[in-house]
C-alpha cells in the first residue's frame, strides 16, 4: 500500500536535487479549428511529480488528459507554459537536445494495436530504441532486449512473434518494455489497462508497481478507471475541460472529494458488490465542447451544487487546508461549505 506523499522521496538514492523530476508550469494547449476558432484542450496546468512517485490524471473523455500527456513527452509543443525534466526546460528544444529528453520521459500508448508495428517482431520492436538511443553493439543490445523481456515477465520465446500473435496483455507488456528500454526517469502511461480483461489488468498493474519500486521510476498515469488509479497513484489530479479542478493524495481525494466534479466521478464509478450503497450525486448532461467555453466555472451548467455566482467567475485552484495538507480544489462553494461545517464525507466504498 503506497503511503501517499511520504513514500515518494526516499526511494531513489542520491537524487541529485530534491526538486521534482517533472515540473509542469502553466502548460496550455490550444488548437486552431476551422472557422478561425480556438479549442483549448489544456488550460494553465501546474503540477509536479517527484522521483519514484505515481500521480494520476483522471477525468472524462474530452477533459484533456491525453493532450496533456502528449505535451509532457514533447509529442505536442504547448502553446504556452513550460515542461521541465529534472530541472531542465524541455519545451522548445530542437534536434539533439530534444532527443536527449526522449530518453528521460517515455510514453506507453493506450492502443497497442496502433502503437506496435504489426510487421515487426517483438525483438525488432525492443531493439529499435536501443539502436536509436544507445551506442551498444548488437551483442549488448541483445542482452538488453532479453533483460527487458525478463523485466516485463515475458518469455524469450516470444521475441520472434509479431504483435498480432500476442494477447492483449502481452502486447501491453511489450509496449511497456519498449518504453523502459532507454531507462527513462518518468513513464507516462495513457490508459494502460483500458483494453485488457479484468484478470490481465491486475497483473499488468502489479508489474508496473514492481518495476517502479525496483527502478525508482516516476509514473504519470492517465486513466478514467478509478480502481486502477487508487491502486497505483500516490496523488491524483482531476481534470475537467482542460483545467485541474482538484488534486491531493489519492485515497483522501476519493474518500472525501471536495469539488462537485470529483464527487460525481467517484459516485458514478461502479463497485463490484451487490447493490453497493451509492451517492446519487449526478452531473447533468455531457461534457461540453472545449470551444467557446463559458466565462464562469466550466462545470456550472452541469453542477447540482451551482449557485448564480458560479456562472460569472471562473474559480481558481486553492488550498483546502481544512481537510488536510496537499488538498487543492477549484470550487469556492464547496470550500466555503467545508470551512463553515464539517462536510459529510462520501459514503465509504
Amino acid at each position: 500500500m503506497p503511503s501517499p506523499g511520504a513514500g515518494s522521496a526516499g526511494q531513489v538514492e542520491g537524487a541529485a536535487n530534491s526538486g521534482p523530476i517533472l515540473r509542469v508550469d502553466g502548460v496550455t494547449m490550444r488548437f486552431k479549428v476551422a472557422g478561425n476558432r480556438q479549442l483549448t484542450a489544456v488550460d494553465n496546468v501546474v503540477l509536479e511529480v517527484h522521483a519514484g512517485e505515481s500521480v494520476a490524471l483522471v477525468g472524462e473523455s474530452g477533459s484533456g488528459k491525453s493532450t496533456l500527456a502528449r505535451c509532457l513527452v514533447s509529442l505536442l509543443e504547448p502553446t504556452a507554459g513550460v515542461v521541465s525534466l529534472d530541472g531542465r526546460q524541455v519545451s522548445g528544444l530542437r534536434g539533439a537536445a530534444r532527443r536527449r529528453v526522449y530518453q528521460d520521459i517515455q510514453l506507453v500508448f493506450q492502443d497497442t494495436n496502433g502503437s506496435l508495428n504489426p510487421r515487426w517482431t517483438v525483438r525488432s520492436i525492443l531493439d529499435e530504441p536501443l539502436r536509436a538511443y544507445s551506442d551498444r553493439d548488437p551483442g549488448q543490445r541483445d542482452t538488453r532486449v532479453r533483460e527487458l523481456m525478463r523485466q516485463v515477465e515475458l518469455d524469450e520465446s516470444l521475441l520472434t512473434r509479431r504483435p498480432a500473435e500476442l494477447s492483449g496483455g502481452q502486447r501491453q507488456r511489450v509496449g511497456l518494455a519498449r518504453a523502459l528500454a532507454v531507462e527513462p526517469k518518468v513513464l507516462v502511461l495513457d490508459e494502460p489497462t483500458a483494453s485488457l480483461d479484468l484478470s490481465t489488468r491486475g497483473q499488468v498493474l502489479d508489474l508496473i508497481g514492481r518495476i517502479q519500486r525496483e527502478t525508482g521510476l516516476a509514473c504519470v498515469l492517465i486513466s478514467h478507471d478509478l480502481p486502477v488509479v487508487r491502486h497505483i497513484a500516490d496523488r491524483v489530479f482531476v481534470m475537467y475541460l482542460g483545467t485541474i479542478v482538484e488534486s491531493g493524495p489519492t485515497e483522501e481525494v476519493f474518500r472525501r472529494p471536495v469539488h462537485p466534479y470529483t464527487r460525481a466521478l467517484v459516485a458514478a464509478a461502479p463497485v463490484a458488490r451487490y447493490r453497493a450503497p451509492r451517492d446519487d450525486y449526478r452531473l447533468r448532461g455531457e461534457i461540453p465542447s472545449a470551444m467557446d467555453l463559458p466565462s464562469g466555472c466550466l462545470l456550472a451548467g452541469r453542477c447540482p451544487s451551482a449557485i448564480p455566482s458560479c456562472f460569472e467567475v471562473r474559480p481558481h485552484l486553492v488550498h483546502i487546508g481544512a481537510i488536510g495538507s496537499g488538498r487543492m480544489a477549484a470550487c469556492p462553494v464547496s470550500a466555503a461549505a467545508i470551512a463553515s461545517a464539517p462536510v459529510p464525507s462520501a459514503p465509504a466504498r
Binding site: 489488468r201 476519493f254 464509478a269 463497485v271 463490484a272
Partner: protein
Amino acid sequence: MVTPQATTEPDPILVVDGLTGGFGRTGESPQVLRDVSFQIPRGRLSAIVGETGSGKSITALSVIGLAPAGFTRTRGSIGFEGRDLAGLDDRQYQAIRGSRIAMVFQDARASLNPTFSIGYQLAATIRRHTGVSRSAARAAAEEALVGVRIPDVKRRMKQYPHQFSGGMAQRVALALALSCRPNLLLLDEPTTGLDATIQADVMDLIVELSERDGLSVCLITHDLGVVGQHCDHVVVMRSGRVVERADARDLFESPRHPYTRQLLAASELGGHA
C-alpha cells in the same frame, strides 16, 4: 423486495440448454461452447459475465441467430416463447429478431449507418418490422427517441450518427432496439467505452425501461460493477462453459466458483472497502 431463487425460475423468458458448438466443419475444432445451459428470468435484468474468449458473445449471438459464419452448433436448444430457436432457418428467424428479441451491439455508433439520418434509420426499421405508413413510422421514431430521453428530438431526427456523442449514440441504438417492442433485450457491453458518469445515466435508463415495460434484459459484460448495481441474475462463463449461475446477491456475497471469486477480486483490485 423479494429475491426469488435463481435456479428454479418459474417462468423464464429464455432457456438455453446444453448449447454446444464450435468452428471448423464439425464444430469441434476448436469447440467454443461446451454444454452451455442457463435461464434468463422474465421482466428483470440479468447478465452473462465473462472475459475475452469466454463464449459470452457467441452465446448471445446464437440466441438472436447471428452466430458468425463458420460456427456450427452441434447440440443444444434455445427455448424462447415455447419454441426452440436453435432449429430455425434465416427466414423464420427474421420474424423473431428485432420484434421479439433485440440486441444492442457494443459500439453503438458502428451499428448505425453513417450515411443516413437518425430519423430515417429509425423509421425504416420500424416500417420493415411493422409495415406502417411513412408518417406513422416517423411519428413512432420520434416517440422512440423521446422514450430514451434524447432532448430536442425534432432536430436530432435530422442529424447523422457522427453528430451524436457516445452516450447519445448508445441511446439511439437502444431506441432502435426497442422500437419494435421486443420482449427480450440483449445488450452487449452496453457501457464499455462510455465515461462512468454517462454509464450511470444509460444504466438508469435501461432499468427504468425494463420496469416500465416489463422488458427482460440480459447484459453481456465484464463489468461486475454494473452487474452488482443493477442485475438480479448472473451467469458466469469461462472458456465456453458456464461456471456459475446464481442470484446476483448470492454471487456477490458468497461466490462458489473460484473463478467468480477471482473475477470479483480483480474488479476491486485488492479492495478499498
